[in-house]
Symmetry: C2
Subunit: 98 residues, 2 copies
């Protein structure tokens, strides 16, 4: 069962473009260290809709184990701790069968 894991985030007021760029850059390094990631796209919202949130992650895996490996990978957890958690006000995710 192929899985897509999608995340939407809303940042705290005052989160700088540099902080967003730093977390995007860090996340984009994960496929190089987590081969279970089949496809990985992240980025800031483009401002096309009034009610959109601020940042997206879309990650594909071949199976549930791949998703779990990603979720628990120490490099991923370090990014969450150091670059995401300090800025995120709200976050929601869904994992679904693609």
């Amino acid at each position: 069962m192929a899985i897509r894991h999608i995340v939407v985030m809303k940042f705290r007021e005052g989160t700088t473009p540099d902080a967003v760029q730093a977390l995007a850059d860090a996340l984009r390094g994960l496929p190089a260290v987590i081969p279970e990631i089949v496809d990985y796209r992240v980025g800031p919202d483009l401002g096309l809709a009034d009610d959109s949130w601020d940042f997206a992650v879309s990650a594909d895996f071949d199976d549930v184990d791949g998703f779990r490996t990603y979720r628990e990978h120490p490099d991923h957890l370090a990014i969450i701790r150091d670059l995401i958690a300090p800025h995120v006000e709200s976050r929601h995710s869904v994992q679904f069968d693609t």
Copy 2:
């Protein structure tokens, strides 16, 4: 600029599996009537994480105009009105450059 539009939804308590299946089936018919959709994946959450929401939409477009055509397409608006709005408690989306 290729765009991915992702949506996460949380349903009201009491939303039935049949209602979720009906909205998933209806959404999956949209690529046949909206050729601007390049790739389209929707589905219910798999229950892999405690804090996940209930349903996801992931739609790819070649450009901003394609996204806008989808967003405003009457068949899409009818699904939102008849099959999504009655059940959705919360919804968040992000459009980002892939």
